[in-house]
Symmetry: C2
Amino acid sequence: MDQYLEMISAHMEDIPLSGEPKNLYEPVAYSLENGGKRIRPLMTLLACDMFGGDVKAAIYPAIGMELFHNFTLMHDDIMDNAPLRRNQPAVHAKWGINTAILSGDALFALAGKYVSNVPDRMLRPIFDLYHKTVIEVCEGQQYDMDFESKESVSTDEYIDMIRLKTAVLPAACLKAGAIIAAASVEDQEKIYRYGEFIGIAFQLRDDWLDVFGDASLVGKQTGGDIIANKKTWLYIQAMEMGNERQRHTLTEAFNNMISDNNEKVGVVKDIYDRLGISDMAQENMRTYYARAFDHLEDIIVPEARKVNLKELARGLFDRKK
Amino acid sequence: MDQYLEMISAHMEDIPLSGEPKNLYEPVAYSLENGGKRIRPLMTLLACDMFGGDVKAAIYPAIGMELFHNFTLMHDDIMDNAPLRRNQPAVHAKWGINTAILSGDALFALAGKYVSNVPDRMLRPIFDLYHKTVIEVCEGQQYDMDFESKESVSTDEYIDMIRLKTAVLPAACLKAGAIIAAASVEDQEKIYRYGEFIGIAFQLRDDWLDVFGDASLVGKQTGGDIIANKKTWLYIQAMEMGNERQRHTLTEAFNNMISDNNEKVGVVKDIYDRLGISDMAQENMRTYYARAFDHLEDIIVPEARKVNLKELARGLFDRKK
């Protein structure tokens, strides 16, 4: 895996971003230098490797997927009014909204260019996958914003939102690797579903860490989603499980009727604790991981070829931050 | 031509935009219903027709180019803080900046999907052209924004900016039609250059109309570019031609030192008039049109096949608004 991560880094550094106009390309370069775990391009390479494909042929679409991911972060940070990204000022905070819009657009354009750098016979399936995915990710972001002002969100609606916003991209990254490796359509579908369930579990883990994680490990104060009135799985579940008084308190809290943030987080977390939401959430995550692994087990390749992908998924599941 | 315009309208109406999430797709539908002259997709169809291609095979990339164009308008209107687009509230003015960002992204994604709907053997050249173009358009928009705060802009810099921001897209639209018609690479290049020069002349005409056009025909008060301190060809030329006093006055005016807008427009226009900028600008436009037509003449197809494209270009040149 380390060798693949190095390959990704080397290709990321080779992206030509030193040209003119500087005000367009510097923010793009900044957003990419700022790091990230490169999980998505790694997934493309690992999937390609698993199906016995030529990993070198998968590197450009892998990079393209990572560029697309970074584009979504740049625009999402504007929409969410998020000042920081990976502990550094977000592009819009550093250069202004107009720059973040336009440099994001350029990054999106660049993503398409990299994704299309595949052998001719794979161009059509790769692009169909890519276009389907980028539109779904936009839909997911819209649902996420819609939910902020929506009074009631069901578990199904929430899961479908995070599927679109978060899970279809890793799923597409894996499928892209499978396409490059000329895997069968059935196997492409299985690895896609694996990625989708892993992606959903990943986001559920994120939600859980935000409330129940160890602040010293997470690297930021817990409760951010509660403060931002995000209707995560935890909140939705508590609203379904709680008695009338608890639901009333939660509704008040999520309508900014508790002005002190520490108090708000404390009140909400207390209800979560009484209802056993943490255990339920972990059980729910395990279910999604299990469904993911079922699809991986269904793929007939030598077991040794699955080791890296399994290790990656386990790392995402066990992560403390 | 009318038949092609109807074909474009019919396909534009068929774009599936009634689905969920509504807050994503309604603004997209609104921006497309709001019209526009559909010149760019028409260019794709006319070029395809000129080279004897199957126009039906060109309709999807033609629509894709128009979607891309509308995406740029949606984001540009945010950046330019422009409240109106085609006499209707711009998307960001009607729904807010976040909606205009995300619906724009979805429109950009949709554009790529339509552009890729071409016969397999044309997918690679069409996509290479598309990606090159979208990145150049982003660069042009950045240069345009950079020029606002740049003290001095040369004629060459200005022409290159409008080439990127405005001219490469019609050029690409024409070339896409030529690619679909399986025109030779040389002919593809000639029609591209034709479009590029037409596009530059088109923007120069726009700049001219903004100052010297008939307000009752243009449909808005003239002098908008002067009020917005846009360093157009007219301004750059006046700064090159004017004496010290005139340059001083222009510099003051474009640094907001004349607070009354009517007075500002009057002062600037008076200098343009004394220097004969209007005639020079029209001569300059004619030069670009002539260069465009030279490239069209160079293409060996029956003269009758060029009639529509010539008529379109003449219409753009003579337009009063």
